[in-house]
Symmetry: C2
Subunit: 441 residues, 2 copies
């Protein structure tokens, strides 16, 4: 993409309303714009990151056997009356009446709807296990939305729902998602720690929050230092091997880790002092097993191998891609701006033409731009006639992993300057080697 | 994808509520399910088609220079008060109050919001032309939603918005989208005819609807037979060449074509009788130039080369991917089910194992399944132990372009039966040739 034809509204001033660094950087880098309290438009740069985060989530959901679908944003209130949550949910639910005065709502989550879909089609245990997910906008009418997309009212959520015949099978489904989540966060460049968590309005007894440590975290968390060095399963992990998955989950849930609500001071104090980590954390995922909480009142049951009808055991599994992006920035930035992990960077390469209009610079940059794109390296080509300082500041702010800088002297002598945004390292190399080197990285 | 692990709830009975063939087939093929009046969940098969349709639309939008972003579904009523449309829009607008009793609405379209975004960042003609689009769920509270996703209340829409300094530049932007739309519909397997159209609540003077001819169309349309043989521009069309685009648009707007509201009986009767086409049509896209209708009241202006501030000239350009899918089915089906164009088929190949459990059949099918997927041919592998008639009926119903059928005799002798769903042709060929032949197709 040529910057001269792109829409990248960089802000020079730090917006006053932004209290945390991710919010400030997302506004300054032209990623999002607030349209109403807690409601954001994703500008082109932000949209690219959102798509890449969703792609990683989707790949790992699919790998674990979950199947993608798409539920609507607007739901009928009647479904929520069946489960009993219509009144429970309180003012966070955005309630709506249509022109015929029927009660609707903007879905804050989809347990009721997916249970309704399940019961209308599935009759036999032979169709289990089943895990259906979608990535769709949700709305929760927070009293005080803040921190940008970290705590917004309209937000994107990947929510998966598992259906199994009994608790044992449901536990395997839970473990599958647990491992998929470990892999997802690792690929997004995050060290996420699963912590026993309160189940809140979703309900159920078994639940983990995935938390990343960040000084701007919303809550206090406590865990064993061992977590910081644990190895996440590779992409060859066998999602069909229940025992193997259970081993992984056991290893990841044995050391102490808890959020503030679930904190057990005595257990924490039993850890050697040097291994105790008390820090602030950001929740980036939350998984629940809640058995028959919805299937029973809503009549979602299957015939088992013994011919008897039983309500299915269910779990739900959420990740918020929009808030995740803020969390990634909290975990990966410096005083100059964002530092994107390559897996979700809006562009892989920023190509900087230091002197547009100079015949050598233009020729080298045009050639590199074409070659980088042809090699599958998404490139943002700064072809604008602005001063050097502004060019560098913008590239650092938007945080593309690699900057390729072409000045008049280098263009003549055949040399490019390469800057790695994550490490800050700079090196000079022959222009002819640039594409090959970056393709191999 | 293995059918045994997929979620494909085929209905055996034709649902009574479905009045048109696309609605019947989408319900029977397990593509969608109604969750409330005019509100649909997209089941896994439907979601795959929706994604593919969006990919084609996105590619052609990007090719023409439009830039993708994402606006929220919920909008502030204040923006619509600024443009004067809050009261005009009537009961089709879903109006909402949040917990603080602020007036919100579920966006039926985004002219106001994009104008607000534009005015907050863009100051100079140097940043023009600009065309921003998003693909987002919309809601229009139809009195009587019907025909499935053809006229639903919650629906997906690609809406693009162009900004230019004056009418001449805005006309080029309009022509760019006009040509992008011709290409998009062609790639989706549709013959779409641009017709002069009424501008309705969007406003403006220049507007075309893209209409496909189908006996179940909602309105009567009239055009010259010449349209049926016109050539759509190839992917090499130069979107930077305003004069070239204008020539294409002129060619596509010179023969008579009009919807019922814009019909001119005298002009139509002047066409030689054999060249008159009076038929029913389905609107699949609608483009508008409306000048300064929103930019003027909302103060979206730029400084021109002469230093004077002028309100920008705008257009908007909509395609509904969800309704488009129904239109494609109306145009491409037979008595047994859907016939997908390959560009948007949910899977490219349906692999049918006639006798799961038979060692030869299983071995051949497993190998073919792996090879088809490795060749980039999305495959739905029917590995279920059901009777032959049901297998064939399902494959015809869901309409995958190619069926590869492996029975015990063929598995032994090394032969596969191939069925082309569009033509109905069947042929037998060596199993070893299947992947190569389908890859080349």
């Amino acid at each position: 993409m040529r910057l001269s034809r792109y829409f990248l509204p960089i802000l020079k001033e730090t917006p006053k309303e932004a209290e945390i660094v991710s919010h400030r950087l997302m506004l300054r880098a032209g990623m999002v714009r607030q349209q109403a309290a807690g409601i954001y438009a994703w500008l082109p740069l932000g949209k690219r990151v959102l798509d890449k985060v969703c792609d990683v989530i989707r790949e790992e959901q699919n790998r674990s056997g979950a199947i993608e679908m798409m539920m609507p944003t607007i739901q009928s209130a009647d479904l929520w009356r069946e489960s009993g949550r219509y009144d429970d949910y309180g003012k966070e639910m955005l309630r709506i009446q249509d022109r015929h005065e029927r009660d609707l709502l903007f879905g804050p989550t989809n347990e009721e709807m997916i249970t309704d879909i399940f019961r209308s089609y599935v009759r036999s245990y032979k169709d289990l296990p089943l895990n259906l997910y979608h990535i769709q906008w949700k709305f929760r009418d927070e009293v005080r939305p803040r921190f940008g997309v970290m705590r917004s009212r309209e937000f994107l959520m990947k929510d998966a729902y598992s259906f199994d015949l009994d608790y044992e099978a449901a536990k395997v489904a839970y473990d599958r998602m647990f491992v998929a989540y470990l892999r997802t966060f690792q690929r997004l460049g995050l060290k996420a720690i699963p912590m026993r968590a309160d189940t809140g309005p979703i309900g159920g007894e078994l639940s983990h929050e995935f938390i990343i440590l960040a000084s701007t975290g919303e809550s206090e968390v406590f865990c064993h230092r061992d977590f910081l060095d644990m190895t996440v399963p590779g992409e060859g992990v066998d999602f069909g091997d229940g025992a193997g998955l259970a081993d992984i989950v056991r290893a990841w849930t044995t050391p102490y880790a808890a959020t503030e609500e679930m904190h057990d001071t005595a257990a924490f104090d039993a850890i050697p002092e040097g291994d105790r980590v008390a820090a602030r954390g950001i929740e980036v995922g939350h998984i629940f097993h809640f058995g028959t909480k919805y299937s029973e009142p809503m009549g979602a049951s299957v015939t088992g191998p013994d011919g008897r009808e039983t309500p299915v055991f269910m779990g739900s599994y959420g990740i918020g891609p929009s808030r995740l992006i803020a969390a990634i920035i909290e975990a990966s930035h410096d005083e100059n701006g964002i530092r994107w992990p390559a897996s979700i960077a809006p562009f892989r390469v920023g190509l900087v033409n230091m002197k547009p209009g100079d015949a050598d610079c233009d020729a080298v940059c045009e050639r590199l731009y074409a070659e980088l794109e042809a090699a599958g390296l998404d490139t943002l080509y700064d072809d604008e006639d602005t001063r050097a300082g502004a060019k560098f500041a913008t590239m650092d702010l938007i945080g593309l992993p690699t900057q390729v800088i072409i000045g008049p002297r280098g263009a003549k002598s055949g040399e490019a300057e390469i800057k790695d945004r994550m490490t800050g390292e700079r090196q000079t190399m022959p222009i002819d080697d640039v594409v090959r080197l970056l393709s191999a990285a």
